[in-house]
């Protein structure tokens, strides 16, 4: 979080509280894209994300007067967004998700790798693969259960620190670290399988 962003947030909060003209425009300018994308990555559906974003902004406008300045403004907004989206998910039939356990590395009783490892790290440096990989990462992320997906999106996609993510989700930092690590291990394994299959064909 840059000092500049922080200042912008402070000014925005002040003008929203006063109900200053232009405050809502500024709120939209700074947060519309972020909130929509966060909602998109949790809900995975454009019209759901749009409705969630509407709810988020309404909540922000209505509750801004009761917002306590003891957490950062953006983390308050993100938190509202995460809660709004999770509530929507709860009201729905569960989405199909994969079991993350199936993608965790397997070890022998002595704690050694149980299967041989391919080093494909050089392969993905090829520019030609870039777009395809990006697309696959998104697809694999979408298949994660929201427990991992939300953490992964806030940390690795939004670029928030573990502390910030913990605050937004109301979880401890160790819990965030553990979920994030498992999500990355999952993604590594998914990419390995994907690249291996590509070679086999």
């Amino acid at each position: 979080m840059s000092a500049e962003r922080w200042k912008e947030d402070e000014a925005l909060l002040e003008s929203l509280r006063k109900g200053a003209p232009g405050a809502v425009d500024e709120l939209l300018r700074l947060y519309q894209g972020k909130i929509f994308n966060l909602a998109m990555s949790i809900l995975k559906n454009e019209s759901d994300a749009e409705e969630a974003a509407q709810d988020v902004f309404m909540t922000v406008i209505r509750k801004v007067e009761t917002f306590q300045g003891n957490s950062a403004f953006y983390s308050w907004i993100y938190r509202i967004c995460v809660n709004t989206c999770l509530m929507r998910l709860r009201g729905k039939r569960r989405n199909e998700t994969v079991s993350i356990e199936e993608f965790m590395p397997v070890f022998t009783d002595e704690g050694m790798h149980a299967s041989p490892m391919d080093d494909w790290s050089k392969e993905v440096e090829r520019d030609a693969l870039n777009e395809e990989l990006g697309w696959m990462i998104r697809k694999f992320t979408e298949e994660l259960s929201e427990k991992y997906r939300v953490v992964f999106v806030l940390s690795d996609v939004e670029g928030l620190s573990n502390e910030e993510t913990a605050r937004i989700l109301g979880l401890t930092v160790p819990a965030i670290k553990s979920r994030l690590h498992r999500a990355r291990l999952y993604l590594r394994e998914q990419l390995s399988r994907y690249l291996r299959e590509g070679k086999a064909e």
């Binding site: 006063k18 109900g19 200053a20 003209p21 809502v24 425009d25 709120l27 939209l28 519309q32 894209g33 972020k34 929509f36 994308n37 454009e46 749009e50 974003a53 509407q54 902004f57 309404m58 406008i61 209505r62 007067e65 590395p105 070890f107 002595e110 704690g111 050694m112 790798h113 041989p116 490892m117 391919d118 080093d119 494909w120 790290s121 993905v124 440096e125 870039n130 990989l133 990006g134 990462i137 998104r138 690795d156 996609v157 939004e158 670029g159 670290k177 994030l180 690590h181 990355r184 291990l185 993604l187 590594r188 990419l191 390995s192």
Partner: protein, 171 residues
């Protein structure tokens, strides 16, 4: 250290936040263990590929979604809370009063020298405001009702151009 422990400590290793002594231990294991080396490199590559995505998907929002969201939130913001409208009305009232005061001071020849200079140079370039002041001077009396909106907004801009704390009228 075994492979399993290494795999679960990779996050701190890759982002450079690992304690140097532990790091050394990991490095020692890595040079001796081919699977772990491959695992670490591909783990690192996975993280890097993900971070690359940041620039690509960040804040992409379809134009029509943006437009609808804009309209919805703006329309709703006018209703919630009513305070917002009240605040705007208050501003509007203040502005009307201020302009009325300015016009009154001008009619009574009591504009401060800075304000008089501003009004004069503005009127040289603005026919609407010049007309209003000309009428004021001719009749020597205030017109009934509010001055035209254009005139008001110009006068507000003039008053805002005064240095902070400086009044536009003579005491």
């Amino acid at each position: 250290m075994n492979c399993k422990e290494l795999a679960y400590m990779l996050a701190d290793y890759c982002n450079g936040s690992m304690d140097p002594r532990l790091r050394e231990e990991l490095d020692t294991h890595l040079v001796r263990c081919e699977p772990c080396m491959a695992f670490t490199k591909t783990f690192q590559a996975t993280c890097e590929e993900t971070w690359k995505l940041r620039e690509a998907i960040e804040y992409a929002i379809p134009a029509e979604v943006r437009e609808r969201l804009d309209l919805f939130v703006r329309a709703a913001a006018l209703k919630y809370p009513d305070k917002m409208r009240e605040y705007r009305n208050q501003i509007e009232r203040d502005r009307r009063e201020k302009v009325a005061d300015l016009v009154g001071a001008a009619a009574a020849g009591k504009l401060s020298s800075a304000a008089a200079l501003l009004v004069e140079s503005h009127c040289a370039a603005c026919p609407e405001c010049r007309e209003y002041f000309d009428a004021l001077r001719k009749t020597g009396a205030l017109q009934p009702g509010d001055p035209p909106a254009v005139f008001r907004s110009h006068m507000i801009a003039l008053m805002q151009a005064l240095p902070p704390g400086e009044e536009f009228f003579l005491a």
